[in-house]
């Protein structure tokens, strides 16, 4: 079901589509709740990020501003490292662009589910795209099997992750010198653990499992030979090509899933 999960009947769930969002608050809370594993996994990383910022000579205001405005863990880690090394501002900004290119793919992957929304909604949603919110939201949209993804759910997810990321970053800057780096205790394992727990329910057939193994191994190899987060992009593209190739060799038992872009419902409660 997982990777072919978009074959919904295309009917709007009351409160899940439409401008009014009667179930808005419930969706928002559901997003917050489903983000809990990643809230846990955010703690050690944002704390370490704040600590690193302090060591690089950033003030608490600067640490907080970076967390609040950039809101992208890897880019911040690399940015802070470059600041400490005295790199030029242009170099630092360029590295943020490169290290975050994976968000292009995540935005592309989310877009079929969200393209029914007005552009101004997309502009707001885009700010909250991080690996964590992407993982939670795309899982939900695939599982729901509806062509229209619920944006309020995404906002709920973003709200809780954002508050934790910014506040714990500042706390790491303030207390890091006393407490030390939580990752040295192995707490950084919370990150892969959270991603493991969210990917497992999606492994419902052998093809999904094959894509998982192949892209995982591809990432492992690509990381050895490419800089930054390039390996994430390479592995994701490679994995989706493998998925399509597997479809050609072994057609799905059930009719091929329709692409989620077209809303086949024909005039639901929009």
């Amino acid at each position: 079901m997982a990777v072919t999960g978009q074959t919904g009947p295309g009917q709007a769930v009351p409160g899940e589509a439409g401008a009014g969002y009667p179930g808005g608050m419930r969706s928002f809370r559901a997003g917050m709740r489903d983000a809990i594993p990643f809230i846990l996994s955010c703690f050690p990383f944002s704390f370490a990020c704040g600590l690193l910022g302090r060591q690089a000579g950033l003030s608490l205001v600067e640490i907080g501003a970076m967390a609040a405005l950039v809101y992208a863990g890897t880019a911040q880690f690399i940015g802070i490292t470059l600041i400490a090394a005295g790199a030029s501002p242009l170099m630092i900004i360029l590295s943020s662009l490169i290290v975050n290119l994976r968000y292009l793919l995540q935005g592309l992957s989310l877009s079929p589910f969200l393209s029914w929304l007005p552009v101004r909604w997309l502009l707001a949603i885009a700010f909250g795209i991080v690996d964590e919110s992407y993982a939670v939201a795309i899982s939900r949209y695939l599982k729901a099997g509806q062509p229209r993804g619920d944006p309020v759910y995404f906002f709920g997810c973003t709200a809780s992750l954002y508050v934790v990321w910014v506040s714990v970053s500042v706390a790491g800057g303030a207390l890091g010198a006393v407490v030390g780096d939580p990752c040295r205790w192995g707490l950084d394992f919370a990150m892969p653990a959270a991603f493991i727990s969210i990917v497992m329910p999606q492994l419902t057939d052998s093809r999904a499992l094959t894509v998982l193994m192949i892209s995982g191994l591809a990432a492992l190899i690509a990381k050895e030979f490419t800089p930054g987060t390039t390996y994430l992009i390479l592995a994701a593209v490679f994995g989706s090509v493998v998925g399509i190739a597997l479809e050609a060799f072994r057609p799905a038992a059930r009719p091929a899933a329709k692409a989620p872009a077209g809303d086949g419902s024909g005039g639901c409660a929009a």
Binding site: G5, Q6, P37, L40, L58, E62, A65, L69, Y71, A75, G79, P89, L90, I92, I93, L94, L97, N100, Y103, L104, L105, L108, S109, P112, L114, S115, L122, I125, A126, I129, D131, Y134, A135, I138, W185, G186, F189, P192, A193, F195, I196, S197, I198, V199, A208, V211, L212, M213, L217, A218, K223, A235, A236, V237, G239, S240, G243, A257, A259, A261
Partner: protein, 106 residues
């Protein structure tokens, strides 16, 4: 806040936002071929496993596939716990507990 630092942070923020917004919004405008859209369904699993595998099998950067790799053992414990309980928080707590124990023992 120092002016240079403010500019750096602002530049990082703009660069990051551009990567997030571009294809999310363009996906609305462009009619992609069906094969391409079908391939998008595999991106979630591929991207998530690309995050997981190196973090577990190369936690310090170098590939470390060994029964002594605490991240690998903890990942297996998490997989088993999620499988049995269907609860992600339990899975994380079990994995974290094991890794802390291994830190004490090893």
């Amino acid at each position: 806040m120092r002016p240079t630092m403010f500019l750096i942070i602002l530049g990082m923020a703009v660069a990051t936002y551009l990567t997030r917004v571009t294809l999310l919004v363009f996906g609305k405008r462009v009619n992609f071929p069906p094969l391409f859209l079908r391939s998008l369904r595999y991106i979630p699993i591929a991207m998530l496993s690309a995050i997981i595998f190196p973090a577990v099998l190369a936690p310090q950067g170098a590939i470390y596939i060994s029964a002594k790799n605490p991240y690998l053992l903890a990942a297996l414990a998490t997989v088993v716990a999620v499988r049995l309980t269907k609860n992600s928080v339990v899975g994380i707590v079990v994995g974290m507990g094991l890794i802390l124990l291994l830190r004490i023992w090893m």
